[in-house]
């Protein structure tokens, strides 16, 4: 496929890796933010091509994984009500809440449907005027504007049977939380390419400046990721900390302005609890007052449901990059994709699922 295959060429990947080896003189910790990138790294063994001095730390960039337990519990409560059609993207349906998950609600007679696009949700609402259609909205800035179209279109089409339970999260506040932690050890970041396709990268410039860390906007194919690492190492080795753009074919500095306008029109920035990490200030998006009538948490009065997390699952440490998935005692034993204890084992972007799929046989990674 054009714009994919050429970035998977093994010869190219190896020459970028040897260039990284050539210029690396010190220990550097580089965090890739996005779970899609983690998946590529583990799948293609890119970390194994790097010199010993470079450690890749997998970041919290899986929106499904960081959705807090209580939001999942709220979705489950709503989905169990009569007359409801609960919709969400695939992985969200399997993430365990405190005592159930959405697919179990479906198995016991609930109407829970997987959708591929916000447009599917509108269609379901139009075809089911007697039902309340709820969309469990997860995602970073990449997905927030597309999901926003549900409420702008619902208003335009006079659909009153649609509402949204928002679990949206934002990347820059998470980077800031990681950098300002007392035991912060990340020297450079690979920023998530598709988040920046929408948002551009001006938000990252003050972070790079304040914390002296280079941030490289990076794509998802093997050659993209290694080139992003090469650019980050060059910055680190020369004592520089700029924001650079490896993914120029899809990202401009200012991003997609109509999509950003839609985010501002529909959402307000709120404090958000991240599963396994805790509350990060100004790190989430909820519907704003102008669209409050479409807020499912208010419509179905579930906004008081709270939950605390399981002690057995070390997802929080994995999501903060403090341990690798395979270091968790439950990994591959009590916890597997078929019987997940935590979200990173469920999501196709989750670090635990990636290690389970591609590195299960290794006892230590």
């Amino acid at each position: 496929m054009k714009f994919v295959d050429e970035y998977r060429d093994a010869g190219l990947v190896n020459s970028i890796a040897s260039e990284i080896k050539k210029i690396t003189t010190r220990q550097w910790n580089i965090m890739e933010i996005c779970g899609g990138q983690t998946h590529s790294i583990v799948r293609y063994g890119l970390d194994e091509l790097l010199p010993r001095e470079i450690t890749l730390i997998h970041g919290p960039g899986c929106p499904v994984c960081v959705t807090p337990l209580e939001l999942i519990d709220r979705a489950i409560v709503i989905a169990s009500l009569p007359g409801i059609i609960m919709t969400s993207y695939g992985d969200m349906l399997r993430v365990p809440g405190s005592s159930s998950d959405l697919l179990r609600v479906k198995a016991s007679g609930g109407d829970v449907r997987m959708v591929y696009s916000p447009l599917d949700v509108l269609q379901i609402a139009e075809h089911n005027p007697g039902k309340q259609v709820v969309f469990f909205a997860v995602g970073f800035e990449t997905t927030a504007p597309a999901n926003a179209m549900i409420v702008t279109e619902a208003r335009r089409r006079n659909l009153t049977n649609v509402s949204v339970l928002s679990a949206h999260v934002l990347v820059p506040p998470a980077i800031e939380a990681i950098l300002s932690a007392r035991d912060a050890s990340v020297n450079a970041f690979l920023a998530a390419g598709h988040v920046c396709t929408v948002m551009g990268y001006t938000e990252y410039e003050p972070l790079a400046e304040k914390y002296n860390v280079p941030i490289v906007v990076t794509g998802f194919e093997p050659a993209d990721i290694l080139q992003g690492i090469l650019m980050a190492v060059k910055e680190l080795e020369s004592g520089s900390h700029r924001v650079l753009n490896q993914y120029a074919r899809a990202v401009t500095r200012e991003g997609n302005l109509p999509a950003q306008r839609l985010i501002r029109e529909v959402y307000q920035v709120v404090d958000r609890k991240w599963r396994g990490i805790g509350t990060i200030p100004s790190s989430g998006l909820d519907l704003n007052d102008n669209y409050a009538e479409f807020d499912a948490a208010k419509r179905f009065r579930v906004d008081t449901i709270l939950a605390s997390e399981s002690e057995k699952c070390l997802a929080g440490k994995v999501l903060q990059g403090l341990i690798k998935p395979s270091s968790c005692p439950a990994f591959g034993t009590e916890c597997s994709p078929d019987h997940p204890l935590g979200a990173p084992m469920v999501s196709s972007e989750g670090a635990c699922a990636a290690y389970y799929r591609f590195r299960k046989s290794e006892s230590h990674v």
Partner: protein
């Protein structure tokens, strides 16, 4: 489904009949899908876009794509020359 990923595809035809929800047929490696192109006012048939959850996020800049590949290639030649030395 992988939520963060956006997939490159080529615009086959554009349907402008609803100005609030402009749509396009997009070819993804042989599979055609309907994709919303509302945020890309200047997009044309033949352009490549990145699509995510049924919506086109951006046009892929072919010149930048070729430039990235050219840089890769340069590195490749450089390393080969290095090995010969």
């Amino acid at each position: 489904m992988n939520m963060c990923l956006a997939v490159p595809g080529q615009i086959v035809s554009i349907d402008d009949s609803n100005p609030e929800m402009r749509m396009a047929k997009v070819n993804f490696a042989g599979v055609e899908k309907d994709i919303c192109i509302q945020w890309l006012p200047d997009i044309m048939v033949g352009d490549y876009i990145l699509a995510h959850v049924g919506v086109a996020l951006n046009k892929i800049d072919e010149e930048e794509a070729l430039e990235t590949l050219r840089l890769f290639k340069e590195l490749d030649n450089f390393n080969q020359a290095d090995e010969i030395r």
